[in-house]
Subunit: 573 residues, 2 copies
């Protein structure tokens, strides 16, 4: 980028050649979700998104994972402001945790109308939250935050009011795509404005950060119009109720299902807390359009003929507490699956949920309904650009430097390959990881040696970050083979055992059918204690307990080939 360009762009050229800007991803790289990126210049920090992600399979009991924000907590006065791209939880979900740590008066926060609405609604679910002043932005809005001038531009995605960012900085322009797809026929939204994208490109893009979630998928994402047409086919054919499950955050899909229901004279019952509250909020803000009389209470659905009813519900991932699972398992207050029903799963299955969804689908078939899912026909489109669109975006923006954003490492690498293919030099492409510090100047991009903290911070109930490796390891061990507590009471003075050891065990064997094993274990316990205490002098109870743990553990393994967590307790009275 030349000085010429900087002048044209009406921003200051860097004062010294090596004056650099730093990009610090705290989340979203090498993972799907938990998106949070810092941009730092002269010690001042701009925050983009504060998302959460779902736990991995080996994290039992964990609700979700949020970014480690240590780096900014210590420097809250350096935070220029927070900018949100859109209202999905992987971009806003960790905000209530962060804001408690870095809040100060006049902290600037920017979000589009719907995103703001979703953030404020979520704040009400948390205690002790500060009162926020979120400034609303829209397509074309420009704001100044310290040395950064940010222009918001609309990007198509699966939720309305999604904003990409053009960030003018003293060393050049950074383009942040947000999550995006190109859609010439979206629902409830205007088509991708390629002219606008080209105008942004003409201002010169030093660095582009672009959504990599779809970088391993061939071709072009489906248009929402195609999805609508396929869904309409199902509406035409269905003579009974339509029960449609999708993510409550997939607001464009929710709109389609409501519009089709209206067209085919069906009333809509909404089931599931998040579905209800998202529809209510989006309606009140004008992002979902529906006639008032379209919605009926579920308990009144029985008063309408089956072919006049649509149920719009959560639970397409087989979540155990969600509406669809309660309906399927016959625990729902008003709804049961019946012959003639048509079930539409209008969402993809998140990796890891396949087996649960399969079991639910089978159960629905067993109860006599027809099932449509995205593998059978195109009734779901993801919100993320695939290879063709990513290539197109790169060709439009022609960034000097490129950093694949948002996604598993394999997706970032795949995105980097696309950039190489269109001619970006490999040395200008940065595949980074969370916590790395990417140093950017007008002529160079590289990863600094030092990192900032970017650990998983696990949320479990009210606890944030208090469940660590040890607690998780214990949970996994307990899950695999259960636990086995042996309690022995000894006389403080004599060291003699007072009563037969008590055994408390859960998740190991069915105790009632294991009386012999328990009796043998008691005998073994007495023998171990006798052996380890007979040396005379003061007893080393820690040693005795260690011996008990090892020997009883070994004994139980020999008998069962299971390794329950053995916890010996010795009480002196």
């Amino acid at each position: 980028m030349t000085n010429q360009q900087f002048k044209k762009n009406n921003i200051h050229a860097p004062q010294t050649k090596d004056k650099s800007l730093r990009i610090i991803p705290l989340g979203g790289l090498g993972e799907v979700g938990r998106n949070m990126t810092l941009i730092e210049y002269e010690k001042k920090i701009l925050i983009i998104d504060v998302g959460l992600r779902m736990p991995e399979e080996d994290m039992p009991g964990i609700d979700f994972i949020i970014p480690d924000t240590t780096y900014i907590e210590k420097r809250k006065n350096d935070v220029l402001g927070i900018v949100f791209t859109h209202g999905h939880y992987d971009h806003i979900g960790a905000f209530p945790y962060l804001i408690k740590k870095i809040f100060r008066n006049n902290l600037k926060i920017f979000a589009s109308g719907l995103t703001k609405g979703i953030i404020l609604k979520r704040q009400t679910d948390f205690l002790d939250q500060p009162k926020l002043n979120i400034q609303e932005v829209r397509d074309g809005s420009k704001i100044q935050l310290g040395a950064f001038k940010i222009e918001f531009f609309k990007q198509n995605h699966s939720i309305p009011d999604n904003m990409g960012l053009l960030i003018e900085t003293p060393i050049g322009n950074i383009l942040h795509t947000s999550d995006f797809k190109f859609d010439n026929n979206p629902v409830n939204d205007s088509p991708t404005n390629f002219n606008k994208l080209k105008q942004l490109s003409e201002r010169g893009i030093l660095l582009m950060l672009s959504d990599s979630t779809g970088a391993e998928e061939e071709g072009h994402s489906l248009s929402e119009k195609d999805i609508s047409e396929n869904l309409e086919e199902i509406f035409k054919k269905s003579n009974g109720r339509i029960i449609s499950a999708t993510f409550s955050s997939l607001l464009n899909r929710v709109q389609q299902l409501i519009s089709l229901s209206e067209k085919y004279k069906r009333k809509v019952c909404v089931e599931g807390y998040s579905m209800k509250s998202n529809i209510k909020l989006s309606q009140s803000l004008g992002y979902i359009k529906a006639k008032k009389e379209t919605f009926i209470k579920t308990k009144n659905a029985k008063d309408y003929p089956d072919n006049r009813v649509t149920v719009l519900c959560t639970g397409a991932q087989g979540e155990s507490e969600a509406a669809l699972m309660r309906i399927t398992s016959k625990e729902h207050r008003f709804l049961r699956i019946k012959g003639g029903d048509t079930l539409i799963f209008s969402s993809s299955v998140i990796p890891g949920n396949e087996r649960t969804v399969q079991i639910m689908k089978d159960e629905i078939l067993r109860q006599g309904a027809k099932v449509y899912h995205y593998k059978m026909m195109d009734i779901h489109a993801g919100g993320h650009a695939k290879k063709e669109e990513l290539e197109e975006m790169l060709k439009i923006m022609k960034p000097k430097f490129f950093m694949p954003n948002h996604g598993q490492l394999s997706m970032l690498f795949a995105h980097a390959e696309i950039a190489k293919k269109i001619g970006i030099s490999p040395k200008n492409i940065i595949v980074a990881e969370n916590g790395q510090v990417i140093s950017l100047s007008a002529n160079k991009v590289f990863i600094e040696k030092k990192r900032v903290p970017s650990n998983y911070v696990m949320v479990d109930g009210l606890g944030v970050g208090d469940v660590g490796e040890i607690v998780l390891r214990d949970r996994k061990m307990l899950a695999d083979d259960g636990m086995f507590v042996i309690i022995t009471v000894v006389n403080k003075q004599t060291g003699k055992i007072i009563n037969s050891p008590d055994i408390i065990s859960r998740g190991f064997v069915y105790l009632r059918e294991s009386k012999n094993l328990l009796a043998e274990t008691r005998k073994k316990t007495l023998a171990v204690i006798k052996k380890t205490t007979k040396t005379g002098g003061a007893t080393n109870w820690t040693y005795v307990k260690n011996q008990l743990r090892n020997e009883i553990g070994r004994f139980l393994f020999t008998k069962t080939k299971r390794r329950p967590m053995v916890l010996p307790v010795i009480i002196e009275v």
Copy 2:
């Protein structure tokens, strides 16, 4: 089926019109794996396959699930014999458990050469197994078992020596496809013999049981020849080591990788217990062909240039103990991933393993290797016929009655749709479930009212069937929020508490950082005991413990929003 046909087929027509035969699936319907089917006629039972399956996600600690064989255990003298279709564990894996229960002298067992070899090898992993006399069959073999005359015919699959069954019965012919695909260019195997299939069909098929695993997949399965060609492309391009992970039971793929290594002058190191023993066994039986000098010990691989080495290993599913995971996590004795390596995942990802495989793939990329997997190019073909082939099989066999076999309920339904499409009357199609009894006569097929036991029998270590609902529920509860044991010692005579309650907790909170919570819980415990025992008279300790469980549980939930398993222990001394 007319009497005319029965004569032509050289089997006896039924003596009375309503004399019927019964098909009893004990496993494999409504699930993938655990295949086991009984065919019963005049109280005599033929057993086809005795498979196992992997546990579901909500079954922590379970090794696998086997069929409930109660129905035959009571009637072992009625068992005519056991027939195996092929050597995959979902068809033979539960055999060591079953055989201990129904063994008698002269029990007849039939399997092809490779299948027999795998079964006998597996028997050596178990204690107290009877000595077996398995009779070897091959393509075209005919055997008589009571009223059943069985002809074995070769079917293509992902393992050699796979046999479909034509079972002549007194009421008509039953065709059991085994797992199959049509392949005109298989590896290490002859192409599908369509003439033979047509000859079988000409004998008249009363009922067909056909593999439904691929019934939801469009099109035709890939030929192994295409896979070979794509794998060869990778071999041509690779300048470093090739590390190739697949299922050890996918013997045809294993052969391809060995043959390609030989062609490209690479030595092969075999890693992983099951991979080593399967290759050794198959080589000794002639089912895998390789030069002796092709194989080298892994510790000697360093003596060869990288482009002369192939590592053939287990672990493509991200199994934590398998070879590839040990290599990736730098725990392998001799192997580390390095720049220049090419990783080939030549298998699909089993639903439920996606996230684990993704994490492993990312780690391999991080360590600098290239990664190829089946989503990027066709380097894996499943062993199961897809829609086109299933339709073709139905058209060839023209069965009067049709019962989709092997697969989730959604697959069975999809297979039934294919049968309807080619003109089989819906009333002649039976979508059955495990434990149902399908009554078949020459003119009618229906599901009887009574069922036979077909529960999940869970294997955990040495225990078979001893882990039930309660143990599993406890494990899940322990996994989610851990456990919390409170031990109080009281004086037997006075009922007074002797010492401050002891607390043992794991998987709940990090105890060192929760001193206040523990102190409060102790106080609360004393208060509850005081309150519940103050009524005078003999203390009802069960009542006290229930109160403690409830009140402490509630207290901990208020403080943490977690629900550990609370276990109060009161010891009287």
